[in-house]
Amino acid sequence: MPIPINIPVKGPAAAPSRKGEFRRSPDDAPEDLRAMALELEAKGEWIVQRVPEPYVEVQTKYGKAKKIPLQHTWHHKSCGQCGHIPGYSTSIFWLHRKLGLEYNDPRDQTSCTAWNYYASATSNSAAQAAVAMRNFAAAYETGYFPQIHCATSYGHYKEVRSELIHHKELRDQVRDVLKKMGKPLVIPEEIVHYSEWVYAVRHEIAKRQVLDLRNITATVHPACHYYKLVSEDAIYDPDVYGGQRTAIVTGVARRSAPRWRTTRPGSTAAASASATSWSSGTSPAPSPSSGRSR
């Protein structure tokens, strides 16, 4: 039986009176890592790459404002998306072009390598931090600001930022590694996921809507590392997906059409992540929740 949820959630499901609704309280807010990063910059420990203008200010879970740059972004691509679901990255670029927003799709980027690290542990905190900071330095050298496509990279980089802020010995070690390749130690002022950018431009996207998708019921895979790692530094909006996640979602549309029908070509970029539709028939169908959670 399908779960009766629409995206974005409106009406009774998002009413203020519902049980267990999250309410922002600055008293519950954890430490402000952005402010701490700026303090370290003032001490000469590293450079903080500022968010370029124009940007949109949004609210995170406990009410801190987060700057989301609209353009001049350096696209930190995702292994899983580019390798197996390339419509994902292609759509993000397509949206930028449709909105007339400038971006940089670099070759001077490696994976964050965290997917492998979480799976096999064949790495360590110094290597993981060095990989992150090499990518950030590469972005800084171009003058473009990192926009991260991968949920794991996004969560992992926020953890790495926290580790670097709290452990001087780790900063020193990573700084030495980068120095050998002639790169500075740079941390972005904000760590931004592509879905946060989508959130920031959602009304502009809506103005260009071609198809009405309101009657499509969808299953979703809110990526674990997106909203569980350092969750306080992600956009929180109770009107979007019941406040569970801000991103447009990975998922497959469910409708009553025959199984395995390919979606009509050119039917919106966002839909290209789900090129195949699932039936709601009684015959066994592959599990729609087969997306990996790492």
Partner: protein
């Protein structure tokens, strides 16, 4: 104070220490060796941020997907290290840690513990010390490690094989058969590749290789899989030398 009286004492026969420091399958290692591994876990710079105490409320177990399918409990992980139960931690390092999916659902702990993070450190110590259980858990995973360490990306289009992924449906074969054409048809030129997720510059790759060398990751691979280590060194050394990076020390 660390103890050796925990419930993990039943793990006899899991592994034994070797003169080289790695731990092979066979007899139980002495307590001192288990204590050394335990201390390696607790001395990781991240450890103090991952463990604050435990209410035994079980929230972490309730939300843990691995706990639904395996005899795995993030609560037991947090409690074993909190109680400094060296025997149990050693047993967990040889079995339980490889059942965690590293989704970090357990981060909703009301005491701000991070059992998933503790598992990350325990796995790392298991790999670094060549525990047989780590080698066993990662059997068949060498191809992925090779891919990520040598190409700088983990998932490549040429992994799309209908026999390997039948759940991808009937279009997987057509995609695999015409992979290069499909990839070249995509607008982003960085994705006109089939052997890596996107095209990575040679200079960028060399910098990544330097990171693996300088941070001891290649040494970890040597402990885990000597053949893989030889192949990776072969791939990396020439590029590093060409770029003028010193490899000694």
């Amino acid at each position: 104070m660390a103890t050796g009286t925990g419930t993990g004492a039943s793990s006899a026969g899991l592994a034994r220490a070797t003169p080289g420091g790695s731990v092979e399958r066979g007899a139980e290692p002495p307590f001192e060796e288990k204590l050394r591994l335990f201390n390696e876990v607790t001395q990781d710079l991240r450890f103090p941020d991952y463990l604050y105490g435990c209410y035994e409320c079980g929230i972490c177990v309730a939300v843990c997907p691995s706990a639904r399918f395996y005899d795995f409990s993030p609560r037991r992980i947090a409690q074993a290290v909190a109680r400094e139960d060296v025997e149990l931690v050693y047993e967990q390092m040889n079995r339980d840690v490889w059942e965690c999916s590293q989704c970090f659902s357990c981060l909703r702990c009301p005491r701000q513990n991070n059992p998933g993070g503790i598992v990350t450190i325990m796995r790392e110590v298991a790999v670094k010390n060549g525990l047989h259980s780590a080698k066993e858990a990662l059997e068949g995973y060498s191809r992925i490690i090779y891919k990520i360490m040598s190409t700088g990306t983990q998932v490549s289009p040429d992994m799309i094989r209908p026999d390997a992924f039948p759940d991808w449906g009937p279009t997987a074969k057509e995609t695999a058969d015409n992979l290069e054409v499909w990839r070249r048809a995509m607008p982003p030129e960085t994705m006109h590749t089939t052997s890596s997720s996107w095209e990575v510059d040679d200079k960028t790759l060399t910098e990544l290789y330097l990171i693996w060398h300088l941070t001891g990751v290649l040494d970890m691979i040597k402990t885990l899989d000597e053949s893989l280590h030889m192949i990776l060194v072969d791939v990396m050394e020439e590029k590093l030398e060409e770029a003028g990076y010193p490899l000694g020390g």
